[in-house]
């Protein structure tokens, strides 16, 4: 799959069909998902109506992690094979990923206020999502600050991979730290039961978010590929090279 799409021409052919498919799935997903989440689903017997926040929080958190995984994989490909398309893809995943991470944090804290009566708990999950946001910001900052794009692609991919290996370590340490300081005085508002009434809107929103992430990434990758192609077309011819013997 990856090696098939590595060719820009083949990628563009794939994107011509895949982009609208993702777009349509996302659009349908959001319409039905919102209908199910806000209108057609009942309130939870424990959490009441606030359970509806889960339908936007969990998909955002899922996309935040999926985007970083995709980013790290693309970085690995870019680092090993020096593939321009992988650079472009890694970079394209970063902004949506950071935005979803931000959304996961904000919706999480809006869920926390009615549930725990506080906007923020330094619990393991929220803290590691916050750290993930820092990693995204640092990744984007490396791209922004390094002017030579070839250097930036390489250094950003190295950073992304180091970040990816460290995420489980950070997650483990934050969970451990949390269990030390807050010995289970509350449980984070996870999925309350798994009745189909809750599962159906949640799954629909998951599909919608994932398709949206796909659409956003493909749009940006396509744009960058076309930009690179047109830049190559407009490129100057380059220096003329001659090699000749010199008589001393």
């Amino acid at each position: 799959m990856i090696s098939y799409l590595a060719n820009p021409k083949r990628y563009l052919r794939f994107a011509r069909y895949a982009t609208p498919v993702f777009g349509i799935v996302a659009a349908i997903g959001f319409v039905t998902g919102l209908y199910l989440a806000l209108l057609a689903s009942p309130e939870d017997y424990q959490q009441g109506h606030t359970v509806r926040i889960m339908y936007v929080h969990v998909p955002a958190a899922w996309c935040a992690q999926m985007a970083y995984t995709a980013l790290a994989m693309a970085s690995l490909v870019s680092f090993i094979w020096r593939h321009t398309l992988a650079d472009i893809a890694a970079r394209a995943f970063a902004v949506p990923g950071a935005a979803f991470t931000f959304l996961a944090l904000v919706t999480g804290s809006l869920w926390g206020k009615p549930t725990w009566n506080t906007y923020w708990q330094w619990d393991g999950r929220m803290t590691s999502v916050l750290i993930l946001l820092f990693i995204y910001i640092a990744y984007l900052a490396i791209w922004a600050i390094i002017e030579d794009k070839k250097h930036a692609a390489r250094l950003a991919s190295i950073f992304a991979m180091v970040g990816f290996i460290n995420i489980p370590i950070i997650k483990f340490s934050v969970d451990w730290w949390n269990s030390l300081h807050q010995p289970a005085t509350f449980s984070s508002p996870g999925a309350p039961g798994s009745s189909s009434e809750i599962l159906l809107p949640l799954m629909t929103m998951m599909v919608a978010y994932t398709a949206l992430f796909g659409w956003l990434s493909l749009r940006q990758i396509t744009t960058e590929v076309l930009r690179a192609q047109s830049a190559r077309k407009r490129q100057n011819p380059g220096a003329k090279v001659t090699i000749e013997a010199v008589d001393a």
Binding site: R82, D148, K149, A231, R234, Q235, N236, P237, G238, A239, K240, V241, T242, I243, E244, A245, V246, A248
Partner: protein, 209 residues
């Protein structure tokens, strides 16, 4: 002084490179064998330094390949290449003596350092911090490091810059001594140096109109 170098070959095949969206060159191919000098000539900004850094193994070329071999076996660029770029590569706070003995240790040089200092004309400057040396004297110190490296292939970016007549003569002498012993050299320079012996070629990068 060291005796002879192993037979080395540096081969660039169809190398192309761009800087940002600016296409520098493509289709550069040459082979550098023992005793040869390649003089890279061209205006500022045309890509001389980029080509030298590709040949030195710092920068992988966008298209084409750079390959290196020693005694018929392919090897890494750092096995055979010594590079002297625009930056001196010396610490201002360390003395000339400290610097050369550090690099001698790093390159495994067993020869006599005082001889090297005499050769490059810095015999009196041993205990002077390199920050207090003139630009030309730093260039001479760089020549000393090239010798100490005992590498067969020297790649030099504008070696004649900021050197006086005597210094240029010294450079030419050291280079021709190096090629006579089976070494090879790539030089980027505006001015044609006299060192270009019978084995010299000129690679010209000229802006396409």
């Amino acid at each position: 002084m060291i005796t002879e170098f192993p037979t080395t070959k540096l081969t660039l095949t169809d190398v192309g490179m761009s800087r940002g969206n600016y296409h520098l060159f493509s289709g550069v191919s040459f082979e550098l064998t023992p005793g040869q000098v390649l003089w890279v000539h061209g205006d500022n900004g045309i890509g001389k330094t980029t080509l030298l850094r590709i040949a030195s193994g710092f920068t992988p070329p966008e298209t084409g390949t750079a390959s290196y071999s020693m005694s018929g076996q392919s090897c890494k660029p750092e096995n055979i290449i010594a590079y002297q770029g625009h930056q001196t590569g010396f610490k201002a706070k360390l003395t000339a003596q400290e610097e050369l003995s550090f690099w001698a240790k790093l390159h495994g040089f067993n020869g006599q350092l005082p001889d090297i200092f005499t050769l490059i004309g810095l015999g009196e400057k041993l205990s002077v911090p390199t920050g207090s040396l003139s630009a030309g004297q730093k260039r001479r110190l760089g020549l000393g490091r090239l010798i100490i490296s005992q590498k067969p292939v020297w790649i030099m970016d504008e070696p004649a810059a900021s050197l006086d007549a005597e210094g240029s003569q010294l450079t030419e002498m050291i280079i021709s001594d190096h090629t006579a012993r089976g070494g090879s050299v790539i030089i980027a320079s505006h001015s044609p140096a006299k060192v270009l012996g019978q084995n010299a070629r000129r690679l010209t990068l000229r802006a396409a109109s």
